[in-house]
């Protein structure tokens, strides 16, 4: 099967952005049936989701994590190996908030990423870029009493994939987040400011509102940069979904 070209995919992306602008422009989450991301075609429901309004729903509470689930070293992805990883050392920090702006405290944040060359420590990633024996690329932490998280890592590289001919993912870090309710569960990706690959990437562009897309891009913050050590990025995360305590009036 011949892969679509970047031109084909870019045209599809442009059409779907136009549709979004013409309707509301307020869609925050991607449409699960976003066709430019070809893997979605057979993996999204065609039936509408069924609303659950039960105030006693189990999903309005959620999993709890604690000190047994995380060690202090887990937030530093540059440690835990016998040497230093290659690449540009960075720190990534921010706050996890609910839709009412309240901090999500003591909850689990997990991250994973490619190495500086754009290669994952996963045997199914066969991109011919070098693995780094000193970098796996997985970390976790608990948010503090202000909802803050912080990771030390290296900046991941861009990498090719086979969605279409000459498809490349912009550099990103995968994030997995829990709120106080299972309904607030979020898995997403953080991008780096100014990446020239943004317009070509159907996964980022699946968020068809430019304002919502901007929520996925971290800010370079010189105040977070540590002299002679690392570059600092800030990225705040707002969890969607109702909780047992959330009300519309708080919004």
């Amino acid at each position: 099967m011949t892969l679509p070209t970047q031109h084909d995919i870019s045209q599809e992306i442009a059409q779907l952005v136009a549709t979004d602008t013409a309707t509301s422009g307020t869609a925050h989450h991607p449409d699960r049936g976003y066709a430019p991301y070809r893997s979605s075609l057979l993996r999204h429901p065609r039936q509408p989701l069924v609303a659950v309004g039960d105030p006693d729903a189990a999903e309005l509470r959620g999993p709890v994590f604690g000190t047994t689930d995380v060690t202090e070293l887990d937030a530093d992805l540059t440690r835990g190996h016998t040497g230093e990883p290659l690449g540009e050392r960075i720190t990534v920090t921010g706050r996890v908030l609910d839709r009412g702006g309240r901090p999500v405290c003591g909850q689990l944040v997990e991250v994973w990423q490619a190495n500086a060359s754009g290669r994952y420590a996963h045997q199914r990633d066969q991109h011919p870029a070098p693995l780094d024996p000193h970098f796996t690329g997985a970390g976790r932490c608990l948010t503090d009493d202000q909802g803050r998280y912080a990771f030390t890592t290296i900046k991941p590289g861009a990498y090719p994939w086979r969605n279409h001919h000459n498809a490349w993912r912009p550099a990103h870090i995968h994030f997995s987040l829990f709120g106080t309710a299972f309904t607030q569960r979020l898995v997403t990706q953080m991008y780096f400011p100014g990446d020239p690959l943004f317009p070509y990437d159907p996964i980022l562009q699946s968020v068809t509102s430019s304002a919502a897309r901007a929520c996925l891009v971290a800010t370079y913050d010189h105040d977070l940069t540590v002299p002679e050590w690392s570059l600092g990025y800030r990225w705040d995360i707002v969890l969607d979904g109702p909780t047992a305590t959330w009300t519309e009036e708080d919004h």
Partner: protein
């Protein structure tokens, strides 16, 4: 505030998110433990080998407890669950044939296990429920057509074994939920 948009879990979460004992939610050797298992299928009926499922069921007091992914402070690796605590949380990746299995306790308080589905190709996770009690009814089930309702009920394969297949698309598509 505007929510941060979802993005796909992608294909390479396997060295980061699954953890040993992720599907062993019931305390070790618990006499009431049940097995729930099934496949995840795509719209062509093909099994999905890179889906990740999470399970949530409240314990006593409707709360969860820490200890799902206990860490070993000496090695920095996973230590596994302590065998005693019921945390209410499970996480399991599908096998190469799209199959998954968990061992847990029958849900209390609500007649279902809450399930969250992630996969490569899925830009935003999906919630569903596995109702284990064949006589269970609630406003959600009551509002569904019988053939749709059936996708939320487990098939009892034995006294302590339930089957729950998840179909992301197609004529027997699983009912997925919106909590907005």
């Amino acid at each position: 505030m505007h929510p941060t948009p979802s993005q796909t879990v992608g294909p390479f979460y396997g060295y980061a998110l699954p953890f040993p004992g992720g599907g062993e939610i019931a305390p070790a050797g618990h006499p009431d433990a049940i097995t729930v298992h099934g496949h995840v299928y795509d719209g062509a009926g093909a099994p999905i080998p890179d889906a990740l499922l999470e399970f949530w069921q409240p314990g006593d007091g409707r709360a969860g407890r820490p200890g799902s992914l206990r860490r070993d402070p000496a090695t920095g690796g996973f230590a596994g669950r302590d065998g005693v605590t019921f945390t209410g949380f499970g996480r399991i990746a599908t096998d190469a044939d799209g199959h998954w299995a968990i061992r847990t306790l029958p849900p209390s308080g609500a007649p279902y296990l809450s399930v969250c589905v992630f996969a490569r190709g899925l830009l935003h996770h999906l919630f569903t429920r596995a109702y284990l009690d064949p006589d269970a009814t609630d406003p959600l089930l009551a509002g569904l057509a019988p053939e749709r309702r059936a996708t939320l009920r487990t098939d009892r394969e034995g006294p302590r074994t339930h089957r729950f297949d998840i179909r992301l698309q197609g004529p027997e598509e699983t009912v997925f939920l919106d909590f907005r």
